[in-house]
Every structure is written in C-alpha cells, then in structure tokens.
C-alpha cells in the first residue's frame, strides 16, 4: 500500500469510498504528526494544518482529473495528499530536504505536482483564485474539456482577487470551480467578525453563477457537489461557487493555540467529525467489515511513521538549491 505511485494513489479515490476513507485517515495522521514536529522544534518556520477539513480535499481529488488544474492555499498538505502526492514528498518539503517536492527550498506552505495538476500552492491569500481562472482560460482557448479548481478559505472571500477572479470567470464562462473551504476562521478571526453574511455561497449571486452550500464534513456530499460543478464547467456553462462548510481543528498556524474559540465549539463540530461519521456510514453499509477500519488506521499510522523515518534520514537541501530554477533557460 505504501509503495503505490502517486498516480495510483490519485486514481484509487475515483471509485472506491473505502480508499477515500483511508486517505482522510492519512491526512489526519499526517497533520497530527506534522504539528508534533513543529511543537517539538524539530523543524523551523511555520505550518498550517488541515485537520477537520479532510472531506473537502478528498472530495475534490476523487472527481478531478489529473489533467485538470488545482490551485490551493498554504494550508495544502491535505490537498496534496488527497491529489496523490506521497507523504514523503510533502514531509520532505516541510523539513527542507532534497527529497521534498520543491527540493526543500520552499517549506510547508509550498507544494507542487504538475502530473497531478497541482500548481505551486499559494501563500498569499486569494492569489490562486484568478490563477485558477487563467488555467481555465487555457482550456477554453485550446478547446480541451479540462477544467480548473480554485480552492481557498473563507477569509479569501473578502480579498479583491476573489471578486476579480469570479467576475472574470463568470463573464467569459470559464470552466472553473471555485471551492471556498469555510473553516469558520480567517487566521485568528471568526468569520462572523469579518464578514456580514452567514453563507458565502450567496456571493455567487453578484456574478450570476450558481452558489451552492455543501456539507464539507461529508465526503459523499463534497464528491457530488464537485462532480456536478465540474460537469457544468466542462459543458461550457461556466463557473460555480461551492461553499464547503467545514471546521479547522487546529489554530491558524503553528504559533496559534486557537484560544479565541468559544467554549464548546470544537466539541460540537467534532460530533460530526468527517472521519468518524464516514467510518460509521461505511460500516453500516457493510463496506468496512468489523475491525477493518482499525486495521486501516494502524496501517496508515505505520506508513506515516515510516515516511517520517525516511525523510529524517535524508539529506537537507544544499546551498546550490537556492540558485536553481530562478529563471527558466531561454
């Protein structure tokens, strides 16, 4: 299981809900482990983890083609894993190792994989939104039926790039799906303190495109919503805004303990934890046998530990790495 190629990892999600469950478990375990590494001071800098938001990433990866383009944010480890990137390539980047997906010169906020359709992730809030529209422009001009998916947080819905990107995509009917991961917090601020409306999907009205609220804690719901929006994009009907209601279990970044969270909020969301809920559903449908989920959890934990050991034993990026790839050769 640990030796599968990234493309096999990606394609595994297409038809297999158990594989989606397993990937969600992997994302959770990975992020927990990464948070631990930073807390222990093993790696420097910052990190932004995505525990609680696994069903969004997996829902996108399950239906997007590898030839579709995905833009996503600095909270990107889960998206990268869901799309098929290996834990080693992401962890290697987080830990500044040569084996990282960018050779270890970029760090936790920056992931990339061209074969899987992932553009370099964006550490500037909202920047990826018009860029996703640009990838969709390529599909439109070249006449392919590929599409783009722009993933961003609730906080990005207040930045100008959101408005400009959605407006442009709408007037040109570009094949793009905008996925707003509303995890309730923009950095340290609760969304209701920064945004005068409850449902960000409502913003779609001003661009004349569908705005759809999705239960971001249910991978069946995210798969369905992304699939329908992609169909719409590919058939020339233009962009869709999906608001995935989800919850960020961790603070904004390494230094943030999320002490601003109202009492009981986390517990309420955790009752609908995407992994626990999905596991119960798969068990009740008979897709996961008694004890099988525990076995999946154990295998995933072992795989993450093995990845950790591999990366720790690998060489850090050399000085020459910072001089590479600044300009593409003419």
């Amino acid at each position: 299981m640990g030796d599968r190629t990234k493309m096999e990892r990606r394609l595994a999600l297409a038809a297999d809900r158990v594989a989606r469950y397993e990937r969600m478990v992997e994302i959770r375990a990975f992020e927990d482990r990464v948070q631990g590494l930073f807390a222990e001071g093993v790696v420097h800098g910052t990190t932004h983890t995505a525990q609680g938001q696994e069903a969004v990433a997996v829902g996108i990866a399950a239906v997007a083609r590898p030839t579709d383009t995905v833009t996503c944010t600095y909270r990107g480890h889960g998206m990268g894993l869901a799309l098929g990137m290996t834990p080693e390539s992401i962890l290697g980047e987080i830990m500044g190792r040569e084996m990282g997906c960018i050779g270890g010169i970029a760090g936790s906020m920056h992931l990339v994989d061209k074969e899987l359709g992932l553009l370099p992730t964006f550490a500037i809030i909202g920047a990826g939104i018009p860029v996703a529209a640009g990838a969709a422009l390529t599909a439109q001009v070249k006449g392919t039926d590929d599409a783009a998916i722009g993933v961003f947080g609730d906080g990005a819905s207040n930045i100008g790039a959101f408005h400009e990107g959605l407006n442009l995509a709408a007037i040109w009917k570009l094949p793009v799906v905008f996925v707003c991961e509303n995890n309730q917090y923009g950095e340290y601020s609760r969304i209701n303190l920064t945004t005068p409306i409850e449902d960000l999907a409502d913003r779609a009205v001003s661009y004349g495109i569908p705005g759809i609220m999705v239960d971001g804690q249910d991978p069946d719901a995210t798969v369905k919503a992304v699939s329908e929006a992609l169909d719409r994009a590919r058939s020339g009907e233009g962009p869709t805004l999906l608001e995935m209601k989800t919850y960020r279990y961790a603070g904004h970044s390494r230094a943030d303990k999320a002490e601003y969270r109202p009492e009981g909020e986390f517990e309420r969301w955790f009752q609908r934890d995407p992994i626990n809920t999905f596991r119960a559903r798969l068990e009740s449908e008979g897709l996961l046998a008694e004890g099988q989920a525990d076995e999946v959890d154990r295998q995933v934990a072992a795989r993450i530990e093995a990845a950790m050991e591999t990366v720790k034993a690998s060489p850090p990026a050399g000085v020459d790495a910072m001089f590479r790839n600044i300009y593409a050769p003419v």
């Binding site: 061209k114 553009l119 500037i124």
Partner: protein, 339 residues
C-alpha cells in the same frame, strides 16, 4: 523596412508573434474592440478573433492572476496595464506569484507571460499617471524587465519577451508612442533580452540610459563640441548587461546615467553602485546620475518639462563634470530641494 509609430510597432510585434504561435493571447482593458487606448493592439481582434484577443473588466489583479494561470498551463498571455500605476493594485501577481512560479515548482512549471505597461511623463496626465516605477520590479528575482526606447526597440523587445519562458515586464514610454521610425520586422528585427544597444560611439564619457531618455541623451551627445559621448541604451533592466557596461565605462573612464524617475533609488542607483565599485580607482570622474527630482510629477506644461531631464540640462551637467571632475549639484538644489 517600413516606417511606423511606436504604438504600431507594438501591435506589429504582437501580431507577428500571434501569427507564428497560436498560444499567444492578448488581453487587457480596451485592448480588443478599441484596439488599445494607445492603439497598441489595433487590428488584432479583427485578425485573431475574440478567443485570443479580449477586453477585460477594470480588474488588474484578476487579469494578471489569469495571465499567471494561463501561462503556467500552456498559453503565452500578453496582458496590458494601461498606466504603470495600475500595476500597484496587482503587484502580487507579478513579483510574488509569476516571478516565483518556476522556483516554487522545482523548475517544472514555467510562467511565460508578458506584462506591457505604458510609463512616464510628458503628456500632461498628472502625478498619478506619469510615473515609471522600474523600482517596483527590479528587486524581484525571477522577473525580467525591458524598456522600449523607440519603434524598433518596442518591436524587437516585445517579440523576445513573448518568446521568453519567464515572466517579462515591458515598459513602453507613453510619450514615444507617436514617434515614427524605421522598423525591421521578422526574425532580424528581434532584440534579445539582456543585451545593450550601443547607439553612439564616443571616447570621453559613457552615457547609459533607457526608454524616453535615450533621445534626450542622444541630443545632448550630438550637441556638445567639448566632449564626445558614447551612448548606451540599456534596453533590458533585468537582467542588465553588466559586463558590457563595465567594459564600456572602463574605456571612457566616465559614467553618466540619464533616467526618467526620481533620484532616490532609481534604476540607475544600481548601475552606479555596481560600476562605481568595480571600477574604483580607474574612473576619471565620479559616477553622475542625471534624474528627475524627488517630487510627484507636476501637471503644468512648463513644470512637467522642467521635471524631466532635457538636452540642455544633461549637456550642462556633463560639461560641469568634465570641467571640475566632480558631480555637479542638480538643478533643484537651487529651488531649495535637497539632492
């Protein structure tokens, strides 16, 4: 070789490149149906159609972001920024996204996009539409920047910029759009990025300039009987041809930089520091920068003409440098302003 205005030369370069490469697309505010506010894309919509030539909403952040995404996924977009000041609302996409795309993809993605922007004073547009702002861009590794100085230069640099696999900003001095000159089209007319043009030979002083100041520097050089000046059009500010400039200055022993931008932290500051430190002890005079004062561009005709270096001022500054071996005070010191 046809004579054409610089704005026509820009349109010719875009059209010639679009004819050869179906992935080249052009967009910006009023570039399609209107042919561009300065007629720099006239005729392109008619020839290449609305899929490849598009009017955008007034949203620079949106369409420059779109250029980044399009470039990374297989097109070669050319986006027009009507006045360089409008880049201020979208700078992120150029200096932080496009310029880092190749680096942040371990060399796998490229971002072959061109941002064209009109720049400069002289047409009475006032202080929010007359700046040059090279220094917004010259400290962002991953980006290239060229400056057109006339029809041939605009044509040749634009074609190179479109073919380059990196993001390139091409600055077009607005005051030059209407000026005519001979233009060689086709491969022969292409000017590689990163190379200077030695526009005039001379022995006593090397004048390094770019953009709209080329004609000012040339007029000054031609007018003096007291000294003979070599004139270099830098053409590409990033990467600039360090070796060519250093070897030129080593030969004449004097460097004068003529810039259309405020004194403090203009592009010439870097040239001055680099050449001055490399040739310390070899120079016959200190490096002289002839620039605009550190003021917002004034509107009134007389004031605006005074703001920019002109032939008489450049000549006088060089006369003083030659006579005294020291850097003369700029004119604005007499007006009570500091250097």
């Amino acid at each position: 070789m046809a004579r054409m205005r610089m704005n026509q030369a820009v349109a010719a370069a875009l059209g010639d490149e679009m004819r050869q490469d179906p992935t080249v697309v052009v967009f910006g505010e009023d570039v399609a149906a209107a042919g561009g506010p300065f007629k720099t894309s006239d005729g392109l919509l008619e020839e290449f159609g609305p899929l490849r030539v598009r009017d955008t909403p007034i949203s620079e952040m949106g369409f420059l972001g779109m250029a980044v995404g399009a470039a990374a996924s297989g097109l070669r977009p050319v986006a027009e920024i009507m006045f360089i000041e409008f880049l201020g609302v979208a700078l992120d996409q150029v200096v932080t996204e496009a310029a880092k795309f190749h680096f942040l993809s371990n060399g796998v993605f490229t971002c072959p996009m061109v941002v064209r922007a009109s720049v400069g004073a002289g047409l009475g547009f006032g202080c929010q539409h007359s700046q040059t702002f090279e220094n917004w861009l010259n400290n962002a590794p991953g980006l290239k920047m060229a400056v057109a100085s006339g029809p041939q230069s605009a044509y040749g640099l634009m074609r190179s910029a479109i073919r380059d696999p990196n993001p390139v900003v091409v600055l077009e001095p607005r005051a030059l759009y209407g000026g005519r000159g001979p233009v060689t089209r086709g491969e022969e007319g292409i000017i590689p990025l990163g190379e200077i043009a030695r526009v005039r030979e001379g022995d006593d002083v090397t004048i390094v300039t770019a953009g709209a100041m080329l004609r000012v520097a040339m007029a000054a050089a031609k007018s003096s009987d007291n000294w003979s000046a070599e004139v270099i059009d830098l053409q590409t500010l990033i990467p600039w041809d360090r070796d060519a400039v250093v070897s030129a200055v080593r030969r004449t022993g004097r460097l004068v930089i003529v810039e259309e931008s405020p004194y403090t932290s203009g592009w010439g500051t870097e040239i001055s520091a680099y050449v001055g430190s490399r040739l310390f002890g070899e120079l016959k005079a200190p490096v002289l920068r002839v620039t605009c004062p550190d003021v917002p561009v004034p509107f009134g005709r007389e004031l605006e003409l005074r703001y920019m270096p002109n032939k008489e001022y450049v000549t006088d500054q060089i006369d003083q440098l030659m006579a005294t071996g020291r850097v003369p005070e700029p004119w604005w010191v007499g007006e009570g302003s500091r250097v």
